[in-house]
């Protein structure tokens, strides 16, 4: 049991922090419903509406008069392709590192994880050089193609996912696999029929977090893609909806709110598993 005083301190700490950390999202949501006139009325600034607000006009502007939906579609395409590549590479590797290999598996796992620390900001220059010079499939290069992102993003999702999955695989009781093998199942069959189904929550977690890493990338998308119809939301919103000195603030805020809220909800649903996997990899 905790005392009343402990409870009160918790609220006194968490309340202000929650307000400060979440305020920008409240403010973006509020702004996205304002009319042009209301936006620039200092009296109404943070907590009031007026001059015809709230309005959904900004949302229809964003959806119908900008390329926002194209960017959302591009992001989805890249996300799905990257997640697929990530799973194909990371799931088997993580399983093998956690179960089939002994000491060196652990060291190699840590090694793979360390490559996650090599940042895009160090690699984007050589990669942009490669992307623009190597002709692939009849194109002069992958510059301005979504495939450049599909190719490069797994370089950070694979190390990260392998690490997370290693943690998950370690928590599966060995007895389950041994029982299946005693019953005569081959190693591969054990993998597909016993291990993967049990690991489904872990795999879902990896899907969510890989996707969120993709949406969070800014550097590669900025360096590789310059044509508007190949952009993803991470760069499209910033580079196309801000034209010189003209800021479409309400549309910008709407563009931010739309993907943020569902992603945050998903994130929260899988957070506990994420914590378990993240610390399970090394800190069993």
């Amino acid at each position: 049991m905790i005392t009343f005083r402990e409870k009160l301190t918790s609220y006194l700490i968490l309340g202000p922090f929650a307000v400060v950390l979440a305020f920008p999202f409240y403010w973006m949501l509020w702004t996205s419903f304002k009319t042009e006139q209301d936006l620039y009325d200092v009296n109404n600034v943070p907590f009031f509406f007026g001059h015809g607000s709230p309005t959904t006009k900004n949302y229809s502007f964003l959806l119908h008069q900008t390329e926002y939906l194209t960017w959302v579609k591009n992001t989805a395409i890249v996300g799905v392709a990257v997640v697929a590549i990530t799973l194909v590479l990371a799931v088997p590797a993580a399983y093998a590192l956690a179960r089939l290999s002994g000491r060196w598996g652990q060291s190699m796992g840590v090694g793979i994880f360390l490559t996650y620390l090599v940042p895009p900001t160090l690699l984007f220059l050589p990669l942009s050089y490669v992307i623009s010079h190597f002709p692939v499939g009849g194109h002069a290069g992958l510059q301005d193609s979504l495939w450049s992102l599909v190719l490069v993003f797994p370089s950070f999702t694979v190390p990260f996912s392998t690490w997370l999955l290693m943690g998950f695989f370690k928590t599966i009781p060995r007895e389950l696999e041994e029982a299946a093998r005693v019953d005569g199942a081959s190693r591969l069959r054990t993998l597909f029929q016993i291990v993967f189904p049990i690991s489904l929550p872990g795999i879902l977690t990896v899907i969510i977090f890989s996707f969120s890493l993709v949406v969070n990338d800014f550097v590669y998308a900025l360096a590789f893609i310059t044509t508007s119809d190949s952009k993803t939301i991470s760069t499209g919103v910033f580079t196309e909806l801000i034209r010189g000195d003209i800021f479409f603030w309400q549309a910008l805020m709407a563009a931010t709110v739309i993907p943020s809220i569902p992603l945050a909800l998903l994130y929260n649903m899988f957070l506990d598993r994420f914590i378990a996997g993240f610390t399970g990899g090394a800190f069993r």
């Binding site: 402990e6 409870k7 918790s10 700490i13 968490l14 922090f17 929650a18 950390l21 979440a22 920008p24 999202f25 600034v45 590479l89 088997p92 590797a93 399983y95 093998a96 089939l100 490559t115 620390l117 090599v118 940042p119 895009p120 900001t121 160090l122 690699l123 984007f124 220059l125 050589p126 942009s128 050089y129 010079h133 190719l151 797994p154 370089s155 694979v158 190390p159 005569g184 190693r187 990338d217 800014f218 550097v219 900025l222 360096a223 939301i233 991470s234 760069t235 919103v237 910033f238 603030w249 910008l252 805020m253 563009a255 931010t256 943020s260 945050a264 994130y267 957070l271 914590i275 800190f283």
Partner: protein, 309 residues
Amino acid sequence: MATVAASGRTRRRRRNPLESRRFLATALIAPAVLFIVVLVGGPLLLAMYLSLTDAVGGTLGGEWVGLGNFRNAWEDPNFRRALRNTLLFTIVSQAIVLVCAGLIAHALTRPIRGKWILRFLIILPWAAPVPLSTIGWLWIYDSLFSVVNWVAKQLHLVDQFNPPQWLGDPTLALAAVISVHAWRIIPFAVVIFLAGLASIPSEVEDAAKVDGAVGLKKFWYVTLPLQLPIATVALLFGIVFTATDMTVVYILTQGGPFNSTQMLTSWAFFTGIRGGSLGEGAAVSLYLLPLLVVVAVLMLRFARKVEVT
């Protein structure tokens, strides 16, 4: 009858390479490792090579210039400033993050009503895509309609007619970049801390209670030492995420005003991509490498230490 079938199966299994543990392990690990070697190792080496040449964007290759790029970069006052900013940015934002996240995580472990919604609100900055949420901050720090200034004006904290120009003044702009980044990293550190706190066995709590350790005393002698390893992990990650981040500074200030908020990362981008000097840009970004190596070594040591216990 049954024994015959079983031994037959064993023999068949032995011939099948997929049943060999060693072979299967190698086959499963190899694709991932190859991919990483090609897409991380390769570019890293290429970055090192490019940094020693005068390669420019759009052409193949360049002349060998030795350490010329590193020297040029070092002598550029903008680079010096970027290096200083990166260090300042990393140290200050991490200090803020550790203190805030420690407090939040500690408070969050108590079973209180409404914890779910509080946690949701606190995690938001980390869950939302940072290239988008930073645009929100651009509006929050707007020169005329900044909501921060609006609140400060209501409270009579700032000059009514000449409020602070958050993104227009070099010092304030750096503070703005630091604050946004700290805002974003705090939830991540909270998550790591929560994992750490969850791993403290309840026996320890009980023992501490029996021994009469409560409040600050308990925090200092029991919780903190047990938290230290996980806090180190959070810090090391934080350092990497912060020192190598370009998104926040690029969106918020584009390195401005007058290159006063450039970081190593954004300076590398402006030199290498915008300026087209791939070689020099690569050299600028490689100045980050020593820091990353130090962090990696610390992490390895740490991982080994935890493994033993």
